[in-house]
């Protein structure tokens, strides 16, 4: 087993990886940019190496500096987390060249799946259904617009190197196309260092269901069931749950088998996720494979009683998977809610800043994966997710009740978060019914706005008035005490007969 691992990431996922390393007795090396000197992952790691300025391209995306850091600290392996360099084949190759184990798939698998259009071809060859779309990325806006017209609007523009909903844009009509195409290219470049995008048919009211797969270096490849990720805002997942309310045993089994087939088709190694769209007729289409750990991996961990990061490390060290497909048991229901530093009342404007107070939920079935602490300043340079709240309960109904309860215990002060918005989502009849799709949040945006409540408004008025009263009173008391203090000082001085002092009694204190 490795004695030291460098974690090439930041935020909650770096903390997540460090936790498992600590449990395994493996020493950890954190890396950090100028914006992250005070970040929790730096504080928790055994060692920390500075990478560069705040922008990712000058720090967390600097392959050379990461390799140097690993060499300098004697780290034998690198865990890439998600995002940043986690799906960059050149990074894996650089690790190989330096004799450092990359904790993830081989570069060929990353390239095969990272090139979204190439991956589509592979999947078609493997007999996996895919959404109609381009066979190749397209950089010319005119040709892209032409293709979009040929398959009919609405269409999706996606980053060829993408994943996780970044660089994805839905285009409703031809007029919007050019602007969206340019924006998608910019976002793709910013997020992945690669501005290639492609166009795909947009499916109406699809569900986003993904399958967790895991492969070792001994020819074993299994799946750990699904995660339902249809609660999305602007293609960013907000709430994930497992099991999916729409999958039956047969569909679950078939999707699992297809996901394993997809992974095997690229000689996959480690943790990966096959994302599918499921339409209203329960047809499923391969969307893409994320060749890394997902943000929402704890949903699977809670449901299957496993530690996927531990599995990643063990598999990277050459061990076989600890479970066979038949031994994977899923129990109960798990849901994750992503806590973001953003203001839903102001069009989800980011809200970086200092967390002045933090009270986390606890109790039964409640897990927090977070990269923040009271006193931490959330930087503006990185994404807005500050924590994940994941709950487990025997049934979906109980898990939702638990998530509602836990969200109501979550207090963050100093910055604005989406906690209230999350509460409204998980109390919305459409979510409760389980019959929702990826258009849920957009369609229900009005209903998901904060509504007022007469009783609580009255309580808020009472609280603000009493609070102000006490502030006013304390201030008055201080002034009075200061005056009394001066008077007392005068009288004490007088008592001691130091008459000279009386003359400047006003200056005492």
């Amino acid at each position: 087993m490795f004695r030291k691992i460098l974690v090439a990431n930041r935020g909650e996922i770096a903390v997540r990886v460090i936790r498992t390393c600590r449990e395994m007795g493996i020493r950890t090396v954190a890396v950090y940019s100028d914006a992250d000197r005070g970040a929790l992952h730096v504080r928790m790691a055994d060692e920390a190496v500075h990478l560069g300025p705040a922008p990712s391209r000058e720090s967390y995306l600097r392959i050379d500096r990461l390799i140097d850091a690993a060499k300098a600290t004697g780290a034998e392996a690198i865990h890439p987390g998600y995002g940043f360099l986690s799906e960059q084949a050149p990074f894996v190759e650089a690790c190989d060249a330096a004799g450092i184990t990359f904790i993830g798939p081989r570069p060929e698998a990353i390239s095969a799946m990272g090139d979204k259009t190439g991956a589509r071809q592979r999947m078609i060859q493997a007999g996996v259904p895919v959404v109609p779309g381009m066979d190749e990325p397209e950089s010319d806006v005119n040709r892209a617009r032409e293709f979009a017209r040929s398959i009919g609007f609405p269409v999706m523009i996606k980053a060829a190197a993408g994943g996780g909903g970044r660089g994805m844009r839905k285009v409703e009509s031809e007029e919007e196309f050019d602007a969206s195409f340019a924006a998608a290219q910019r976002e793709a470049l910013a997020a992945f260092g690669d501005d290639r995008v492609y166009v795909e048919k947009f499916l109406d009211k699809p569900r986003h269901v993904e399958i967790q797969v895991f492969a070792d270096a001994h020819g074993n490849c299994i799946h750990l069931f699904e995660r339902e990720c249809s609660v999305q805002r602007r293609h960013q997942k907000v709430i994930e749950e497992s099991p999916s309310p729409i999958l039956d045993e047969d569909l679950r089994r078939r999707m699992g088998e297809v996901a394993v087939r997809a992974a095997r088709a690229v000689n996959y190694l480690g943790a990966g996720t096959c994302e599918f769209l499921v339409d209203a007729n329960k047809n499923f289409y391969f969307l893409e494979m994320n060749t890394r750990l997902q943000v929402e991996h704890p949903v699977t961990e809670l449901r299957c009683g496993v530690d996927l990061v531990r599995w990643q490390i063990e598999v990277a060290a050459g061990k076989p998977l600890p479970l066979s497909q038949d031994e994977v048991r899923a129990q109960g229901h798990a849901i994750e809610a992503r806590i973001n530093a953003e203001d839903p009342a102001k069009n989800f404007m980011p809200s970086p800043g200092k967390i002045t107070y933090l009270r986390l939920p606890g109790g039964p079935g409640t897990r927090i994966d977070s990269g923040v602490y009271p006193g931490y300043t959330v930087p503006m340079a990185y994404d807005s997710m500050i924590a994940k709240l994941i709950v487990w309960a025997p049934t979906r109904e109980q898990a939702i009740q638990r998530l509602q309860r836990a969200l109501s215990e979550f207090v963050v002060k100093g910055i604005t978060t989406n906690i209230g918005y999350l509460k409204r989502i998980v109390a919305h009849p459409e979510f409760l019914s389980g019959d929702y799709d990826t258009t849920f949040l957009a369609r229900r945006a009005e209903e998901l706005r904060a509504a007022t409540n007469g009783e609580l408004a009255r309580v808020a008025l009472v609280a603000s008035a009493v609070y102000q009263y006490q502030l006013d009173k304390n201030r008055a008391r201080k002034l009075e005490l200061a005056a009394q203090g001066a008077a007392a000082a005068r009288s004490r001085w007088a008592e001691m007969g130091r008459l000279r002092a009386l003359g400047r009694a006003g200056g005492v204190r």
Binding site: R166, A183, R186, E187, A190, A191, A341, E342, K346, N347, F348, M349, P350, S351, P352, T356, Y357, M380, A381, Y382, D383, S384, L407, S408, V411, K413, G414, G420, K423, A450, T452, N453, L456, A457, R458, V459, A460, L461, V462, A463, S464, A465, V466, Y467, Q468, Y469, Q470, D472, K473
Partner: protein, 168 residues
């Protein structure tokens, strides 16, 4: 002590009478409540109002208002005591008219400027794109008018509240 509170544009009269250590009679718009209030650290207040318990979190919003979190709801309240009310009344209301300055709602980076000085813009039209936390945020014109001045350049990092564009 009498206060005047503004919540969602509505005025409320609140009268706070201290009855004992931490116990108050609070009259809101003529309706009286017995309130046991315990202030805690970090702006938290535990209230027991006629036996109902509320864990309330207060946060100054910086513009003289206070955000009040009660159960799952946030209320933004502006509170004035009698002295400040009189000052406010004497001073009259600040009238929003004339040139409008669009400011950055959060720290970020100006990735694009969508207009030029002298250009006519409509209400809701995008003026500047500011990126923060990996998200592009298009800031729109608050009114129909003409771009009077642009205070920033593309690529510039700006603080929250920084002036971006003036529309007249």
């Amino acid at each position: 002590m009498k206060y005047q509170a503004t919540l969602d544009g509505k005025q409320h009269e609140i009268h706070v009478i201290e009855k004992g250590e931490g116990v108050f009679e609070v009259v809101v718009d003529g309706q009286a409540h017995t309130v046991d209030a315990l202030p805690l650290d970090h702006g938290a207040v535990s209230l027991i109002v006629d036996r109902a318990s509320y864990s309330v979190e207060m946060e100054e919003s910086g513009d003289g208002k206070v955000n009040v979190l009660v159960r799952d709801h946030v209320f933004t309240i502006e509170l004035l005591d009698e002295r400040r009310m009189r000052m406010r009344l004497a001073g009259g209301r600040f009238v929003v008219e004339g040139p409008q300055v669009v400011t950055a709602p959060m720290p970020g980076k100006v990735v694009r400027i969508l207009v030029a000085p002298g250009q006519e813009v409509k209400e809701g039209q995008g003026l500047v794109v500011v990126e923060a936390m990996k998200m592009e945020n298009e800031l729109a014109s608050p009114k129909d008018g003409t771009v009077k001045e642009i205070f920033v350049q593309e690529g510039a990092s700006v603080e929250g509240g920084a002036k971006l564009v003036m529309v007249e």
